[in-house]
């Protein structure tokens, strides 16, 4: 297609955020049972932008659908929602939701490099029929398409010539002010494309443009919308050539030539500066005093708007990963330098002082770098609203979703890996949890409308996400019978309530006898469990029959850097996460209890715990055999608790977690409790152990 990747990324990013906005808007409107006039305007605007950007990217299916909906909302905007009969309103909501789903599906295809749908006629007809219904009801006969397509060119009057001059330049005196189509979207990238096509006819050094950073700074789009995009040429002839190129470029609404008049370049500089100040979004630093009075009011408003809404920028995750990697290296190198063996025995006051300062700065740097990757869970949580809404309609059960602690921040990679699990649990709650009939709920003394609470909170080292429903709860007997039928449980064995709940998390378990659209595919909760465990978390279920069910996900806050205990076994060095260690102690051989199958145990406080010898578990040749010579780590992960026997402790250290190479991971060492590795201060590699998997592998 010849489009730059930047452009595609920008398009996808814009689409995603607009669809999310749209989803939210319609969910709110549906609750209010009507669209407010602002909502109508907003939808109209969003559809217009989708139409424009999709047309530019040549995604025709998206463009066509967006165009039709835009037309429809043009009518609604004119007639207001009052003109639409109440019985049609729910259909309208459904239709918009359907279109959002359509857009999403198409976007997904684009992301996966698949061809877009060609067959959009059915959906198009549906929209058309509905649009006709609305306009028919209103009795009016105005042509919506025409109205919507007509650009409101008149409203955006060109700035006065005096202001125009402010953008001139002595070295490039022949200017061209370009305006793009109203609401075209991504004006900065359109400007960049324009520059590229001008480059084909005019030498690169014979012209410049304003704002200068259109390619890298999406915030310049606002400036271009308000003030136009400025091309400036050395000679009049070049400008003439460029005009031809500009004329042929798509989405250009109009362009005006202007010439530089000497004496006002200072103003030009000042106003450029203001634009840049706005872009950096640093309040107060704008050189308000220097800015001349004549400065266009539009630029000032633009600056204010940017302060308000553009304080966020989007950065590709790979850049953050690189940053994180570099910071991690700095942290390690800092330790290498300040604790260098060459410094031993030297008295270096100034060095020590500087080293201490460096230490505190690297700590800060690390904190900041880590916080960059943190995003609030609200995005994931908001998506659940739509799921609950859709399922309420389909299953004809009423339920409210209550969100708590949406602002809780977790690592971006964690957000990605918990989004599916949360969705699954919420679906399960709707499908299996909330009672089918209101009468059932009323009989049980509950609110007829079901309730699902999705809550996130932070403890020191973990994020806890709870999904609580007030539905039927888990019927132990039914679950046990099912588990026996599936061969997961032994008949006649006495299982505790907790054991029975754990069956729900086992592979191949699904309590619904029939597979429904939403859950019960038999790949439910076990996938939830493995997804959560893949980011180092745990899943637990609690439930009381008739009262509801609570699913709790506990996820470690950060994975990239953690506190570890370095231990040695023979010549190998392992890192055990401090978070998993309950106690470290020495024991003598006489405290060890042997059972028949050579398993070893030890009594701590009032309980017996099994012992796993790291040396034997990993078949390491060297290392101590007698408990008198080694150390026991009492470790715990989720519900598993045991003692790990190692040679000796080396010390506590903050380590940067690195994955092991794919080549090595292919041998399934993760299942043996080897989750990654870390590079120690002296450059050697230590293997990070995953306590939960050691336990599973041993049993």
């Amino acid at each position: 297609m010849g489009m730059g990747n930047d452009m595609m990324d920008a398009y996808l990013f814009e689409m995603h955020s607009m669809l999310e906005q749209l989803d939210d808007l319609i969910l709110q409107s549906e609750q209010a049972k009507t669209f407010s006039q602002e909502a109508v305007n907003e939808i109209f605007r969003i559809m217009h932008t989708i139409k424009g950007s999709s047309a530019m990217m040549e995604f025709n299916s998206l463009m066509t659908i967006a165009h039709r909906i835009e037309d429809m909302f043009f009518v609604i905007r004119e007639k207001t929602m009052d003109a639409i009969p109440d019985e049609l309103k729910p259909n309208l909501f459904d239709l918009i939701f359907e279109s959002i789903d359509f857009f999403r599906a198409e976007i997904e295809k684009i992301e996966n490099d698949q061809p877009l749908s060609n067959d959009i006629d059915t959906f198009l007809n549906k929209i058309n029929t509905f649009a006709n219904k609305i306009s028919g009801e209103g009795g009016g006969d105005d042509s919506p398409a025409q109205g919507a397509a007509a650009p409101e060119a008149a409203s955006a009057s060109a700035p006065a010539s005096g202001e125009l001059m402010a953008y001139g330049s002595a070295s490039f005196p022949y200017g061209l002010q370009v305006f793009f189509d109203e609401g075209a979207g991504m004006e900065n990238l359109r400007a960049m494309m324009l520059v590229n096509s001008v480059k084909e006819v005019v030498d690169e050094n014979a012209f410049d443009f304003l704002p200068p950073d259109v390619q890298l700074n999406p915030e310049t789009a606002t400036f271009i919308v308000d003030n136009g995009f400025f091309l400036r040429f050395k000679t009049e002839g070049d400008r003439g050539n460029a005009e031809g190129a500009v004329r042929e470029t798509g989405s250009v609404r109009e362009f005006l030539p202007f010439d530089f008049a000497p004496g006002i370049e200072a103003q030009a500089a000042a106003s450029t500066e203001t634009v840049q100040a706005a872009q950096t979004a640093s309040t107060g630093s704008a050189p308000a005093a220097e800015a001349p009075q004549q400065q266009s009011a539009a630029a000032q408003t633009a600056a204010k708007q940017q302060h308000a809404k553009e304080s966020l920028i989007s950065v590709s995750l790979s850049k953050l990963d690189t940053l994180m990697a570099v910071v991690s290296e700095i942290v390690i190198t800092e330790a290498q330098v300040t604790a260098s063996p060459d410094l031993k025995g030297l008295k270096l006051d100034n060095f020590t002082k500087a080293a201490r300062q460096l230490r505190s700065l690297t700590d800060q740097l690390q904190d900041v770098a880590m916080s960059l990757r943190m995003v609030p869970v609200s995005g994931t949580f908001q998506k659940m609203k739509r799921i609950v809404r859709d399922m309420s309609k389909k299953l004809d059960r009423e339920a409210n979703l209550i969100l708590e602690g949406e602002d809780t921040e977790v690592d971006k990679t964690i957000v990605d890996s918990i989004s599916d699990p949360i969705m699954h649990i919420v679906r399960n709650s709707m499908d299996h949890g909330i009672e089918e009939n209101k009468s059932e709920r009323i009989a049980a003394g509950k609110d007829p409308v079901g309730q699902i609470i999705l809550a996130a909170r932070q403890t020191g080292s973990e994020v806890i996400i709870e999904i609580i429903d007030d539905g039927r709860g888990v019927n132990d007997e039914a679950v046990l019978n099912k588990a026996i039928r599936q061969g997961l449980a032994q008949p006649g064995v006495d299982y505790s309530h907790k054991d029975i709940l754990n069956f729900l998390l086992m592979p191949g378990f699904s309590t619904n006898t029939e597979v429904t659209e939403y859950s019960g595919r038999g790949v439910g909760m076990d996938v939830v469990k493995s997804n959560v465990e893949s980011c180092g978390g745990t899943v637990t279920i609690s439930s009381e029959l008739g009262k509801g069910m609570t699913t709790t996900l506990k996820i470690p806050l950060t994975m990239a850097i953690m506190d570890g205990m370095e231990v040695s076994v023979g010549e190998s060095i392992f890192t055990v996460p401090i978070a998993n260690i309950r106690q470290i102690f020495k024991a003598s051989d006489m405290h060890i209890i042997q059972d028949e199958t050579h398993g070893e145990m030890i009594k701590i406080v009032d309980n017996f715990y099994s012992i796993i010898r790291a040396k034997e578990f990993y078949s390491i040749a060297e290392g101590v055999d007698s408990f008198n010579d080694g150390v026991l780590l009492w470790v715990e992960s989720g519900d598993n608790s045991f003692c790990l026997f190692v040679d000796q402790l080396i010390g506590e250290q903050q380590v940067v977690v690195k994955p092991l190479p794919e080549y090595v991971n292919n041998f399934g060492i993760k299942n043996s409790g080897i989750s990654g590795c870390t590079i120690l201060g002296d450059g050697s590699i230590s293997i990070i152990l995953d306590v939960a998997n050691i336990y599973t592998a041993q049993n």
Partner: protein, 160 residues
């Protein structure tokens, strides 16, 4: 004038034949273990170390010597000698390879030298002597010794 033209044409032909030769020949790194010489295309060779500090990884096949810290990156190291079923002798050299974006190191006895081998000189291995990692053999130009050409991608596929 016409003479000049002639020269130019000559030059052109010369340049063309050079090009042909270049595309036909490629550089190979020759290394040794026991008495056998092996060759690996230099396209995949990143660097060579004489002393390596390999960290063992438990629960993997013997021929995986472990991982090393290569300027902050964790790189797996295969003991090539064990992979071919022989016991290593003496201090090894490590050759770091980049095979289709996968960085991996192999341990060998000694690194010999670099040679140009022309494609036409590469002969198939007789069926009885076939080895999954060897995709051809040839006699070193100007010498009497024979080398086995290693199939780099096969190295990383051994684990899959």
């Amino acid at each position: 004038m016409s003479e000049e033209m002639l020269f130019q044409k000559d030059d052109l032909e010369h340049a063309l034949s050079d090009n042909v030769r270049e595309s036909d020949e490629s550089k190979y790194l020759i290394f040794r273990y026991s008495d056998i010489l092996y060759a690996m295309s230099t396209d995949v060779v990143v660097e060579i170390f004489t002393h390596v500090d390999v960290t063992r990884i438990p629960m993997v096949p013997d021929y995986i010597a472990g991982v090393i810290n290569l300027r902050g990156a964790v790189v797996p190291i295969i003991d090539f000698r064990l992979m071919l079923g022989r016991y290593p002798e003496g201090e090894p050299c490590a050759i770091i390879l980049d095979i289709n974006g996968v960085t991996i190191g192999i341990l060998v006895d000694t690194v010999d030298r670099m040679v140009d081998i022309s494609k036409s000189a590469i002969l198939p291995v007789p069926p009885q002597n076939e080895h999954p990692m060897v995709n051809g053999m040839c006699t070193i130009p100007g010498g009497t010794s024979t080398v086995m050409l290693l199939d780099a991608p096969a190295l990383i596929h051994m684990s899959e």
